[in-house]
Symmetry: C2
Subunit: 382 residues, 2 copies
Amino acid sequence: MAGKDRVASFNISKFSPPGIVNLDIGDPTIFESYWRKMGEKSSLVISGNQFLSYFSDSKNECWYLESKLEDEIKRLHSVVGNASVEDYYVVVGTGSTQLLQAALYALCPDDGSNPVNVVSAVPYYSSYPELTDFLRSSLYKWKGDARTYDEGGPYIEFVTSPNNPDGSIREAIVKNGQGKLVHDLAYYWPQYTPITSCLGYDIMLFTLSKCTGHAGTRIGWALVKDKDVAKKMAEFNTITTIGVSKESQIRAAKILDLVSDSCQNPGPDNFFKHGQSLMAERWEKLRKVVGQSGLFSLPQYPKGHCLFTGEFSTEAHPAFAWMKCNKEDIDDCEKFLRGFQIVTRTGRRFGSDPKYVRVSLVGKEEEFELFLERLLAIQEDF
Amino acid sequence: MAGKDRVASFNISKFSPPGIVNLDIGDPTIFESYWRKMGEKSSLVISGNQFLSYFSDSKNECWYLESKLEDEIKRLHSVVGNASVEDYYVVVGTGSTQLLQAALYALCPDDGSNPVNVVSAVPYYSSYPELTDFLRSSLYKWKGDARTYDEGGPYIEFVTSPNNPDGSIREAIVKNGQGKLVHDLAYYWPQYTPITSCLGYDIMLFTLSKCTGHAGTRIGWALVKDKDVAKKMAEFNTITTIGVSKESQIRAAKILDLVSDSCQNPGPDNFFKHGQSLMAERWEKLRKVVGQSGLFSLPQYPKGHCLFTGEFSTEAHPAFAWMKCNKEDIDDCEKFLRGFQIVTRTGRRFGSDPKYVRVSLVGKEEEFELFLERLLAIQEDF
């Protein structure tokens, strides 16, 4: 089962001798230096008598949502301009991972006789198949690639934009008229891609991990248009975890507050501009190394007018490199790179060709530099 | 579906005019005054650059577990003497609710042709049916009362001790030789019941909510004997939420540290002795009011030798009162009490008789006092 692979990814570093560069997981430690520099103003104090109650705001459909977090989520989207918040319900989750499952639960009828088909276009985020199928639910079932899906009847399509693993901007594929869409917008932030429009889809998912780098905080949020869907998503989070850590919620509120404030700043303290220059620098270095030979290739991205920076010709700098090995006799790029102590995620996990791998570009600086060194050495050998 | 009821419980206070006393949910705010009194020494500071990574300790089977939390969990069990920790694996979850599901996932074969039956003795914790069945998994299926269960083949039994709702001390019921047990020990702490022995079951679940009162923190933990089971439980938490909030984990570590320290103290700063006197006081008041007439009755508990306090004749003071209405023409005690603006949870939700209700005794002082007042008034009327 696919779940094994994913969990193996999280346990992989225990088998990693110091020489291995692990770029399998998108562990967003690249932003750590920014937060270190912020110093005390980014600190949070929690006193012993806080958060004894399960409840935050029992008037809200999402009864466990801290109102301060709701306010900061809405404020940040308004500042960045990436998603509409007016007339949307906010549902918070333990990472957007929990919300993906909550959306499946909310969009499937309780009493359906057949499981609803779940699809996403190849290459799709490697976790979709496993989080859909690992409990063998009769409510929904993974059906694979949206591009080849041609059944009638109800379905759910995950639309990831920018896409994980390949950074492309996407729209829904299937058009049989009976679909429900879940837009996974984890990477729709200015450090990764130009913000070309303010999105207003039915269900839009975001996560603190990829927005500010706080992956350990496990906070995701959904902007949901329909009240009953929002309510049922909150119901899922109630049944599975009786809400979401309040410590994480107020920490996320604090971090988002600082990020929104920083957007007033034209200099390097502007979080997204800082992030954008970090990502641009890594992509520039990577493209230079890959350009040394024809052994590997990388996607090209169209430039766009970014509403956030106001710049007309902004490049995308995705969190992952979707790298192809062009050598004919190398069918399995992941295996090939592993031979050089570089751990990546095989294209197979994304429903795609094993000639591709996904490489995390959001890890620690020293890991990234070591990766470049090795990539250079490999190319010299071949 | 039962899930509706549960979620309704969490949304109920939105429909509660100020006059309603809501004792449906066991929201453990009774301990707030203790934590307020602890003041600054119970405060925690989190800086902006903490917890960017998903990982805590990649050498641990539970790779997202903060080692400080693991240490404090083991220390507290050693101080209290309620459960063995030597040679046990610690798996942390987003509340013990997530761990109940993780245990089901870990104990069922991936490739079983039939769902494994899940049972618990009536009256059972009202969430078991819904968290087993809400996704209509083919791995496991709720089968109800363990006492009447007589099928062969594999099964899983939830053993809750002290039991929620009725506070009784329990052991496994079904004995067909093919069962796996999950011991839910959320209330096996000195404020609720004498600690009569140090337990050493295969899977033992605990939660910060009921131990220290920090329900909003959403931290539960499992002590697991078998390495593969521990690993598969951590796998469940990886797939569903990619681990557990690190803010909550270090907060829980801090709180447990203070509780263990306080156990050295013979006075009212000893957390469990303080909790015990609070619970004893409420039970004494409640028994006095209920004793005014024969309209209601409450369970009696045997006294026991508490290894923690060293006292030979310690009474149990459960977190909930399992209250029976003895009046012949009142079949539905929950409905009857609701007529007097007292919201409780019907016995029906626990697989039991609607003549019973579960009443939370761990809420705010003013709510408890209002409950007693109304109970007294009801008895005077009847």
